[in-house]
Symmetry: C3
Subunit: 209 residues, 3 copies
Amino acid sequence: MTILHAIELLGVAVFAVSGALAAGRRSLDLLGVVVIATVTATGGGTLRDLLLDRSPVFWIADTTYLYVSIAAALLTVVYARYRHPPERFILIADALGLALFSISGAQIAENAGYGGIVVVIMGTLTGAAGGMLRDVLCAEIPLILRRGRIYATAAIAGIVLYLLLQTLLDRTTAALVGMAGIAGLRLAAIIWDLTLPVFSLPKSENEET
Amino acid sequence: MTILHAIELLGVAVFAVSGALAAGRRSLDLLGVVVIATVTATGGGTLRDLLLDRSPVFWIADTTYLYVSIAAALLTVVYARYRHPPERFILIADALGLALFSISGAQIAENAGYGGIVVVIMGTLTGAAGGMLRDVLCAEIPLILRRGRIYATAAIAGIVLYLLLQTLLDRTTAALVGMAGIAGLRLAAIIWDLTLPVFSLPKSENEET
Amino acid sequence: MTILHAIELLGVAVFAVSGALAAGRRSLDLLGVVVIATVTATGGGTLRDLLLDRSPVFWIADTTYLYVSIAAALLTVVYARYRHPPERFILIADALGLALFSISGAQIAENAGYGGIVVVIMGTLTGAAGGMLRDVLCAEIPLILRRGRIYATAAIAGIVLYLLLQTLLDRTTAALVGMAGIAGLRLAAIIWDLTLPVFSLPKSENEET
């Protein structure tokens, strides 16, 4: 097992924990917790693989991701019986997961021969779409679309930085700086409460437009 | 037409009826009823085919599934004008549909060369994901994730049973026992009100974790 | 750039505007507006390409669609700061987008070797599923499933007309008449408030059927 693979599995575990906690806040049953945790952890990469027509999907090719995700969800349930989950730790771990998955998703799109905006979208989907699917299954407007502290925006900024830096640096260094940029921007957004401006129209009488 | 194909079409019809009734409870228009019924009946298999990269998707390869689903939805609307739909009959038929689709979905994954957890997931998706998509389109947290009588859990248990029994029995017998296990567990869950434990956390002020 | 390509880009822009306005009514942030606009504009064609296993997906093959969609979303935000968006203009433009995408989606399915109901479904998905995904992301029952003025139904009727006319006319003329039929039926539905009948059942105590 390479170090990269180990880090990726850690990212899956972190996202699964965040999904399990979200499921707990909606009082789902045990299967629901495992499903939401797994969708949160693997949904972004799955969407990327379907759109890029990569076959088989990454968690079918390597089922370790599934086992890690299920184990993380169940451990979260057990842990939460005894102690309050440490919110700060999870926010930091989630920022690292976002950074890692966004850049690794971008590299997968690059390896498939794409560039520019397709790489940015695939990286952002890999990092942030799992949380979006989690919210859709919880019948809520996805958090990252609502007024929230910068999240997918950090992924976009970091991937663009990574792409630009490749003209100056080698790919590995550019990737590390891109990841640091994503995690740093996300954590800065949490600390200083950075948000994007909101676009707000009055509710129309005619919802059909 | 083989007996298996006939049974599968019956399963599609049953799921379409359950989708049409769910649509009726949300007062959708006629097209909405047909769409929800068809998504309920074919959504699980569609997701399986997309994830396994089976092309074409089963209802494109054999459009009979679509016609059966649309006809079942329209007959449900006509029938419900005159008589109350027989709830007990539908619960039993739905349990049979779940049993049939879960095992046939598992076999499709096996035939594509997969084993273990991938077979369990593909079988469960085939049987239970149509109802999940139905609930997402109805803007509700999917029933099978909320506290409900055991549903997808029955599919998982029956598929695992089917996989284990293949070491002892021939594949057809194992499949039949697996299906009986799913239908039996689901009906037992309805009769004795069996549920999974619920994982419940207080709503956090900070929804971003 | 051919005329057809120019018209398609116009259709994407129109759908993106309608998506951005829907996002504004739910007070999403700027990234949310761009995401909802892009999903509205490209979601139907994406679903079609995934189901038909066309690779790469159309907006990966030609990223102009993405740039047009993002630009249209941002221009909508800027415009709406100063003036009320002209509802009538948007309804008409949306009807034209629906007409165009439904017939072009039908032709893509025909070119892939399909006929009959598969062509009707793929055309309707191309025209109407973007709006459905927009509503799912906004955690609402999709407008086209609820009692609303005829929308997807217009697409279905126009595609059937297009298929029937091909026995009498050349394909291009049939396509133009089909498009006119869709736009005309949709606009007539808006003017005279045409709707489909609604199927309404009492909410059951037992939501599990």
